[in-house]
């Protein structure tokens, strides 16, 4: 990246103190997002994708807490800000889109009211200006007859339309970055493509960066500029989207991409990765993927790899340690 990154996450560590000791949910997570860039974050359920997003906007479910590392927005640390300073960043500088549009909107307020209150919290707008802008936003996200629908309640919209409203809410104070946590998972397949296309278009138009969390590789391939693959609370591979999808380096990424069924020919059996991701209290020493890895060797069991240069991408795998390189 030549431009200074908009968001930089350095060695982020998130812990959950429990009665039986501390669980480490995120381990040394580092990545950056350039202005206008869309970073896809993929991985199985529980890999820490959503938690990374929640940590960035500092809305971790208690008792989860950031235990180490730094988060920088436009070069300024935001992980140590007070709650009140952080509140002014949420919505204004970093917007958020949640998974389920049916539960994300307050059922007792009209969509117009939810839009205007968000804008008026962050921007200096009169009531009539805010209302006008709210109608503009509803039009921008493709809600027909926006001027009439502004006074409708969330239950009067369908799921896809509600997610459009949520997108308008996330973008209406014009943040530089949007954290979209599985924005299409709860939607019908036919609506998913529309919503993703809308998100992509708005991000380009407003030059907004996006962190797109999903487990849908199709969405990533279509939308993202770069991809981070997460496994057991760590980033195991990161690189340009085409490289990660077409030529993944980390054995886990390879398994993940192979498990997408090909469309051009029939297969007898779908490829799968044997075993399951370890629970947080049972992550093995060394590389967390070692029990499932087809290419495991001695070093993987004792020593944990950091992200290493693997050519077109970076992968946290000893296979790419130049000093080692046993049988690539």
């Amino acid at each position: 990246m030549t431009a200074a990154p908009l968001l930089e996450v350095r060695n982020l560590r998130v812990e959950f103190p429990t009665r039986r000791g501390t669980l480490v949910a995120l381990h040394d997570v580092s990545f950056s997002i350039a202005p206008g860039e869309i970073l896809g974050v993929v991985g199985e359920s529980g890999a820490g994708k959503s938690m990374t997003g929640a940590a960035i906007i500092r809305l971790l479910e208690p008792p989860g807490r950031i235990a180490g590392g730094q988060i920088l927005l436009e070069g300024r640390r935001i992980d140590n800000l007070s709650q009140d300073e952080m509140r002014r960043i949420r919505g204004r500088r970093i917007g958020a889109i949640f998974q389920d549009p049916l539960t994300t909107l307050n059922p007792l307020y009209t969509v117009g009211r939810q839009l205007t209150e968000t804008m008026q919290t962050h921007l200096d707008l009169s009531n009539s200006e805010a209302r006008k802008r709210a109608i503009d936003w509803l039009e921008m996200v493709g809600i027909p007859a926006a001027a009439q629908r502004i006074d409708s309640y969330p239950h009067e919209f369908s799921g896809g339309m509600r997610q459009r409203v949520v997108i308008a809410l996330a973008l209406c104070a014009e943040p530089r970055l949007v954290v979209a946590d599985e924005p299409t998972t709860a939607l019908d397949v036919s609506i998913q493509a529309q919503v993703i296309a809308l998100l992509k278009r708005l991000a380009r138009e407003k030059n907004t960066s996006m962190m797109l969390v999903t487990h849908d590789m199709g969405v990533i391939a279509e939308t993202a500029d770069r991809v981070a693959v997460m496994y057991a609370g760590r980033v195991v591979e990161i690189g340009p989207v085409r490289e990660v999808v077409k030529h993944p380096h980390h054995p886990y990424s390879i398994g993940l991409m192979n498990s997408i069924p090909p469309l051009d020919h029939r297969v007898e059996r779908l490829a799968q990765i044997d075993g399951a991701m370890p629970r947080l209290n049972a992550v093995p020493p060394g590389c967390p993927y070692n029990p499932r890895c087809p290419k495991v060797f001695d070093r993987c069991i004792v020593e944990r790899p950091d992200l290493l240069d693997a050519g077109s991408t970076s992968a946290a795998c000893w296979l790419y340690d130049r000093a080692e390189a046993p049988h690539v």
């Binding site: 509140r87 909107l105 007792l108 919290t121 309640y153």
Partner: protein, 328 residues
Amino acid sequence: MFAFILSRLLQALPVMLVVALIAFAMFAYVGDPVSIMLGQDFTEAQRDALVRDLGLDQPFFVQFARFVGNAVQGEFGLSYRLSRPVAELIAERAPATLELASCAAAIALFVGVPMGVFTGLYRRSWLSRFFLTFSLIGVSLPTFLIGILLILIFSVWLGWLPSFGRGEVVQIGAWSTGFLTGAGLKALVLPSITLGLFQLTLIMRLVRAEMLEVLRTDYIKFARARGLADRTVNFGHALKNTLVPVITIAGLQFGSIIAFAIVTETVFQWPGMGLLFIQSVGAADIPVMAAYLMLIALVFVAINLVVDLLYFAVDPRLRADRGAVRGT
């Protein structure tokens, strides 16, 4: 909306008729009104004449219809004990009970709701724990004991507040109020606390439970992710979503406050309807008892209607007349 109110009123009709039937049955089965009115010495002819005058020789349904007809006009006959029209007696006593009940309800709401919000937001603070312990006392101590304890402390030991009666009242038309004089207000303090304490703790616990539920929802998390101020989120978005169950309970409780002010009125010798009722029970004064029964039933029916209308005001999803889900 109008059709809804009309259907609700039609539903209330059978309820009121059944209550009227019970009230009417008291005349027939609790003592014989004819022998009560004639006293010790009478001839058979006198007795027959009175039975005919009172219409007691007519069939049951005719008698019942006449009772209902009179009741609709507020005509319940003469009190056996005081030989005055029952309607007049009740009208005289109603202001005392209504003022006491509204003070108690106001205390329960304006103290109970904020306490519930507080204990819901700051679950772990020592003040929340204190409120919860205190509410257990409120729920478990019987009303008369609380009343007697308050009298002991504030009237006998400290001598700050009167232990009985309404103090000075000012007559405004047919309404006698204690709100306008210092002595009247002072006299209200102890009885309204006694009457409102149970409802206060109930409302507090209900609001707390609802707040805990609502604060976990996605739309509250999303409201925070939009950077709204904590006050707006907690007292706007969250509290409003707890209101439907709170209105239900508070409405029913207001009915019971009026109906069961009997104990409090007895402890404090408060000259309200409850005290009138207890004295009437002692003297088997059936007309007063019948009228009281019907009045309380009417109060409950009316409150239920108001509660239903408040639902519409709070929750847009119930406003069917806005039309079903529009568009897609």
